[in-house]
Symmetry: C2
Subunit: 115 residues, 2 copies
């Protein structure tokens, strides 16, 4: 068995969490003030209902996002960043800064669905 | 067609680049001083030669990593972060800080191969 450095395990999990397809975009939508399913979806052109629901469940399971029933009749659900999620702000900021400096807005797209 | 905000396209590409499976771990290995294929591989238990080679090619294509032939006989190749790659340091630092605070080192693993 290889020697495993705990920090490396943690880092790997963190990068896989925010790096999962669409997860970064969903977090970005939440950070920019979208809290309802429709609003988050509208902020991410190309994402399907199924994929958005799945990723929100994963982020909720990771305690990064909290799902709150705001009203039961009619049913209104909001998704909010937890303390754990909010503390990703420096990561989001650093990545945004880097992307703005180094990634061209034009050219070949990373996916067929542009967000 | 939806209105696409350029910064969002850039952010999406950046998060997909470092979030691709193993890419974060490879960048971490490069940042911590590993520059040869065998050294990078040893720093990431569980990664296959094929996957490491593929990810290094992708990072090279994204101009984040530079492949340098240090010696031709015997063939010695080194992988170095470019300026673009080195400027990911704040992202790596922020993610490491967050992971250290919020991700448990024990418990269920994100993958069967622990790094």
């Amino acid at each position: 068995m290889p020697v495993v450095h705990p920090v490396c395990v943690r880092f790997h999990r963190a990068v896989e969490l925010i790096g999962a397809r669409w997860s970064g975009a969903i977090l970005r939508a939440l950070f920019t003030g979208q809290h309802r399913f429709a609003g988050i979806k509208a902020a991410i052109p190309g994402i399907s209902d199924t994929m958005l629901a799945q990723r929100l469940r994963e982020l909720e399971a990771a305690s990064v996002v909290d799902r709150q029933v705001v009203s039961t009749s009619p049913l209104v659900v909001e998704y909010r960043l937890t303390e754990r999620g909010l503390e990703l702000a420096p990561v989001m900021d650093a990545l945004t800064t880097w992307a703005h400096r180094w990634i061209e807005p034009s050219g070949a797209e990373p996916t067929t669905a542009v967000t």
